[in-house]
């Protein structure tokens, strides 16, 4: 029998809260009771938590639980360039350290590349207890297949309980390959990670699909639990050079990749808002495209970069390289000034690292104000003009 969402007709009063959360419009209220169209329901389960009376439940067969007790330790795939770990690798090691301390377990980093052994100490100083190093030249080409094969081999041999990947283009290509090979779950683009001290369950929080909601996801029946995290979401750990750890060279040799690298060219350094110290950002509330000029003028006065919310990219007012949020970039400036951005969760997921946020919006209830430090309820264009005049 296939699983389905059950409505308890005794408890349901037909308030319609559930219908409001359903992205599929599969719930209607008929005769003061919620009715679920089973042909439209995709079992996303977002409605379950919306019911104030707990009238909705998921009916499903009990899953057989596997023996998970052999799995321990938290691993981080430390993506590298010329052997040196990239920032997100260290950010993840810092987070893994935190989780491992809570759980009372250890942190292992995996690093690959012909010069990788020169960078083991930085991984240990960041929080790793053990580092696996693969120094074969084959890894320098950053091709998925040899990486996937080697990582799967190590996971099967050493049985970690969780493995974290940076959600870089390479990590987003590699991690699903590894997860599918091992038959494991994988949660993309987590913005919060926590761990249950007792059972080691990794609590993975990310914006839910559609709707202004966050979802916490777990993987109760399989190990390792796998997650990807965007660069800039977690803080860089303070390196502790006195930390001790061990290093193990990997003796496993993967097959040669079926995909061949013919050539690689570096792009001209693109201006990236990910690294900007000050950002002025704009959303739908700036009214019209010509007001982008004011945004650029203010940014120019402050030496700031320009960011936008997704609707402006969809409208063609700005290029995708300026988009902040779940489907754009994460930013962590010292100062972020937002104009006319309401603050959907997908957008807020990209600004968690900003140290100081000034938000300008006409709607006093806009969710952006929940993330902001300073709240200005006013028309974006008026404030822009006045501020530019004042700064000049």
């Amino acid at each position: 029998m296939a699983a389905y969402i059950r409505v308890d007709r005794e408890k349901c009063v037909g308030c319609g809260m559930c219908a409001g959360t359903c992205a599929q419009n599969a719930i209607t209220i008929e005769n003061a009771v919620a009715v679920i169209d089973q042909n439209a329901c995709v079992l996303c389960r977002i409605c379950l938590d919306s019911c104030p009376l707990s009238a909705l439940s998921l009916v499903t067969e009990e899953k057989k639980e596997n023996d998970l007790s052999q799995h321990s330790g938290i691993w981080v795939f430390a993506e590298s360039r010329s052997g040196a770990p990239i920032d997100v690798a260290l950010e993840l090691i810092g987070k893994a350290r935190e989780l491992a301390d809570r759980r009372g377990t250890d942190v292992t980093a995996l690093i690959f590349g012909s010069d990788a052994h020169n960078h083991v100490l930085s991984l240990i100083a960041g929080g790793a207890d053990r580092v696996f190093v693969g120094t074969d030249k084959m890894f320098d080409d950053l091709l998925d297949l040899p990486y996937a094969e080697t990582i799967c081999h190590l996971i099967e041999e050493h049985k970690p309980e969780a493995v974290l990947f940076g959600a870089t283009p390479f990590g987003r290509s590699l991690a699903p390959r590894v997860a599918a090979r091992l038959g494991c779950g994988l949660t993309a683009d987590c913005t919060v990670l926590d761990i249950d001290r007792e059972n080691g369950l990794l609590l993975q929080t990310r914006p839910a699909f559609g709707g202004n909601l966050m979802a916490t996801i777990t993987c109760p029946g399989r190990r390792p639990q796998m997650a990807t995290v965007r660069p800039g979401i977690f803080a860089m750990p303070e390196p502790d050079p006195s930390r001790r750890g061990e290093m193990t060279e990997i003796d496993f040799m993967p097959r040669e990749s079926a995909v061949r690298l013919i050539s690689r060219t570096a792009a001209e350094a693109r201006e990236s808002i990910s690294d900007a110290r000050i950002i002025v950002s704009a959303g739908r509330g700036i009214g019209s495209q010509k007001n982008m000029k004011l945004i650029y003028e203010l940014a120019g006065l402050l030496g700031a970069s320009v960011g936008v919310s997704r609707p402006l990219v969809d409208l063609g007012w700005a290029d995708h390289s300026h988009q902040i949020g779940q489907t754009g970039l994460s930013v962590a400036p010292d100062l972020l000034i937002t104009f006319g951005i309401s603050g959907a969760v997908q957008h807020l997921a990209g600004i968690g690292g900003a140290k100081k946020i000034i938000a300008v919006n006409t709607d006093p209830e806009a969710p952006i104000f929940s993330a902001a430090h300073y709240k200005v309820v006013a028309d974006a264009r008026d404030v822009l003009r006045e501020l530019i005049a004042k700064l000049k």
Binding site: C41, R45, R172, L186, P220, G325, F369, A372, L391
Partner: protein, 226 residues
Amino acid sequence: MVNPFDTFAIEEAVRIKEKLGGEVVALSMGIPDTERLLRDACSRGADRGVLLSDRAFAGADTLATSYALSLWCRQYEPSLILCGKMAVDGDTAQIGPELAEHLGIPHITDVCEVIDVTREKITVRKDTGEGFEVLECPLPALITVLKDINLPRMASIPGVRYGHEADVQIFTASGLSADLTKVGLSGSPTQVVRTFTPQRSSEALPIEGDLSEIAGRLTDIIKEVL
């Protein structure tokens, strides 16, 4: 509406078919209503549609979805599978690589140009975010494409008519001999345990007054950072 990212995959598949011949099949998994998307794909140049639809598939995470898709691919053995980069709502971009892994074929993500394709291999340009790579890969293979890859054609009037009449086959779990422990909710290792509206972490400090007062206060705050 077809996921906008997928329209680029459909267009690229049609262009490859125009060069090498063969057949373009639009494949999806979803509720019965998803048939409309496949008819839309056929109006844009796909020859036919295949929809995997069954209550047993519902509640699938990316692992269970990619497994179900792989069942049909194993029967049909396409030489090249093209996927859109990701779903519109900030999806995971996991289906492509996971499907390739289930099929045991290589994959390349973030393709911004198909440089050459023959019946044996494909050569593509990949946007790595830091630059570009030219990669060569034997077929069968799977690629995920970016929106820079082409400018999709609009559906023509005969195209729309074709879309209405096109053959859209529907497969159920038993029709694909699916292992029921690997599809839908029961085949999904990940579970949503809680959904919530993000809480206000702290109250933002209101800055009020006339425009000149507001601008003055903001200037002071900005100057602390500069």
